[in-house]
C-alpha cells in the first residue's frame, strides 16, 4: 500500500500519480484553481503535483484531492513503486529526542522552594491559561446542515424555484462543496450564486466559503408531466471534514401536474399563507428571477386554472 501511518508524530505520506491527477482534472473540466481551493493549497502546488516535482505528499491532502476529483484515494496514487517515501522536504522534522535523565552521581539534599515562589508559579500558570483561552479560543465545532426548499408541484414547462439553505454553525468561513443533481428532463434556467464547475451530467456544483448560513438557489422547469414524482438529490462536503458527505435534507421530489408551484395545497388559489411563504422563502434571494408578479396576480384573483394547450395559467377574476 502507498500510505503509512508514521509513529511518533511523523506525518503520513503517499506517493501520487501526477499525470493521472491532471487527466482526471481535465476530463472533468476542473481548473487548477478549483483543486487548489478544495485542498487549500496554491495553484503552484497543484501544478508541481501534476508535474511530479513533489510526487510524495501528505495523505490528508491526497484525500482532499481525491474528494475534489470525485475518485477514491487509490485512483490517484502511484502504484509503480510500492514503497512509501517520506519526502524530507515536506515532512516537518519532528524531533524525537529521547529523554535521558541525568543519573545523579551522588545524593544531594533537595531544597524546598519557598511558598511565595509556588504561589507565584500557580498564578503565572493560571494567567497564562486565561491568556491562552482569551487569544486562542478552542476551534468551533462545525455542524453543517443543508435543507432544500422545493415546491410540492408545478405545471409542465413552468419555471419553479428551488433553494438550498446551508448552515455551518460557525462564524468562521467554511469552505464547502455543494452538489445538486437535477432529475432527467429538468432544464436549468438560472441559478445564484453562479456554479463553480462545468456540468456534464445535469448536475450543479458550487465551491463556496460559507459563514454561518448561505442560500444556493436555482430555477428549473420540467417539460413533461408524469404521475411519478420528479426526484432531486444533493450532497454537501466540508473541507475541514474530508471524506464526510452530508445529504441535502428537506423535500426532494416534485409532482408535475396542473397546479402553480406557489399553490402549496393544490386547491386552485394562492392564499395569504401561500403568498407569504413565497416572500418568506424566496424574496431575499437576490438575483433569482422568480415571476413574483404572476404569483401576486393569482393571489389577487379568485383563483386560477391551467390551460395545458397554451401552457399558461389563466387567472380567475
Amino acid at each position: 500500500m502507498q500510505s503509512d501511518s508514521f509513529p511518533s508524530g511523523r506525518i503520513p505520506m503517499v506517493k501520487i500519480d501526477g499525470a493521472r491527477i491532471r487527466q482526471l482534472r481535465e476530463s472533468q473540466g476542473l481548473t487548477q484553481l478549483f483543486l487548489a481551493t478544495s485542498v487549500e493549497v496554491t495553484t503552484d502546488t497543484i501544478s508541481r503535483w501534476e508535474n511530479k516535482r513533489y510526487p510524495t505528499i501528505k495523505r490528508e491532502n491526497a484525500v482532499r484531492l481525491a474528494e475534489a476529483l470525485e475518485v477514491e484515494l487509490d485512483a490517484i496514487l502511484d502504484h509503480s513503486d510500492e514503497e512509501t517515501a517520506n519526502d524530507e522536504n515536506e515532512i516537518p522534522d519532528h524531533d524525537q529526542h529521547e529523554s535521558h535523565p541525568e543519573t545523579p552521581s551522588r545524593l544531594t539534599p533537595v531544597k524546598k522552594p519557598p511558598f511565595t515562589l509556588i504561589v507565584a508559579t500557580i498564578i503565572a500558570i493560571l494567567l497564562a491559561g486565561i491568556l491562552a483561552w482569551w487569544f486562542f479560543p478552542a476551534p468551533q465545532e462545525i455542524s453543517v446542515s443543508a435543507r432544500r426548499f422545493l415546491p410540492a408541484h408545478s405545471a409542465a414547462g413552468q419555471p419553479f424555484p428551488v433553494a438550498i439553505e446551508v448552515k455551518t454553525g460557525s462564524i468562521d468561513p467554511q469552505t464547502l462543496i455543494l452538489k445538486e443533481s437535477l432529475p432527467q428532463g429538468a432544464v436549468l434556467l438560472s441559478l445564484v450564486p453562479p456554479n463553480s464547475a462545468v456540468d456534464h451530467h445535469n448536475s450543479l456544483k458550487w465551491l463556496s466559503k460559507v459563514k454561518e448560513t448561505q442560500i444556493f438557489a436555482y430555477i428549473v422547469k420540467v417539460e413533461k408531466s408524469s404521475a411519478a414524482p420528479v426526484v432531486f438529490s444533493g450532497t454537501v462536503a466540508v473541507h475541514k471534514a474530508p471524506g464526510e458527505q452530508l445529504r441535502v435534507e428537506g423535500r426532494d421530489s416534485i409532482v408535475i401536474d396542473e397546479y402553480h408551484w406557489a399553490d402549496n395545497n393544490g386547491d386552485g388559489i394562492i392564499s395569504d399563507e401561500e403568498i407569504l411563504t413565497v416572500y418568506d422563502e424566496f424574496s431575499e434571494i437576490s438575483g433569482l428571477e422568480i415571476d413574483i408578479d404572476q404569483v401576486e396576480e393569482i393571489w389577487l384573483g379568485s383563483g386560477y386554472r391551467w390551460d395545458a394547450s397554451q401552457g399558461i395559467f389563466v387567472v380567475l377574476p
Binding site: D272, E273, I275, L276, T277, Y279, D280, S283, E284, E296, W299, L300
Partner: protein, 143 residues
C-alpha cells in the same frame, strides 16, 4: 447545642438556593424572545366616522412581508388609502394590503371612507410568517 448552628446553616443554604433559583428564572424569562403572537400587533387610533386609522407594531426581526386585511360594513365605499390598497372587495367590505420590505417599529395604515360608519363595525387581521420559526402568524385587531 451542636444541632442549632447546623440547622441555621441548612436554612441559610435553602434560602440561598431559593434566591438563586428565582434569579435564574428571572434571567431566563427576561432573555426569552418575544412570542410569535407578539411579532406583530395592532390597535385602532380611529375607528368610527369616515376615517379609519390602524397603528401596527412590528418586532425585530421583522417578517419578510405582511398582509393587513381590514373588514368594513359590506358596500362601504373607500375614497382614499395610505399606503395604497392592493385589493378591495366592496361587496364584502374586505380591503387588503400586501406590504413588502417590512421594517421593525410602528407603522400606520389609513382609510378614508365616503360615508360614516358606526363604532364596532370594523376589525382587522394581520398575517405574516414568523422569521424565527417559519410559522404562519395571524393576529386579530379590534377597536
Amino acid at each position: 447545642m451542636k444541632g442549632i448552628p447546623m440547622m441555621t446553616n441548612v436554612s441559610m443554604l435553602k434560602k440561598w438556593i431559593c434566591t438563586a433559583a428565582v434569579f435564574v428564572v428571572f434571567v431566563f424569562l427576561s432573555g426569552k424572545p418575544a412570542d410569535a403572537a407578539d411579532l406583530v400587533s395592532g390597535s385602532y387610533t380611529s375607528f368610527s366616522g369616515n376615517s379609519i386609522v390602524l397603528s401596527i407594531d412590528i418586532q425585530s426581526p421583522p417578517p419578510a412581508s405582511l398582509i393587513i386585511e381590514q373588514y368594513l360594513p359590506p358596500g362601504t365605499e373607500i375614497v382614499g388609502s395610505e399606503p395604497k390598497l392592493k385589493k378591495y372587495n366592496i361587496k364584502k367590505g374586505e380591503a387588503k394590503w400586501l406590504l413588502k420590505d417590512v421594517r421593525p417599529g410602528k407603522m400606520t395604515v389609513k382609510l378614508q371612507l365616503a360615508g360614516k360608519i358606526a363604532k364596532g363595525d370594523v376589525r382587522a387581521l394581520l398575517r405574516c410568517m414568523d422569521p424565527a420559526t417559519g410559522k404562519f402568524v395571524e393576529k386579530n385587531v379590534t377597536p
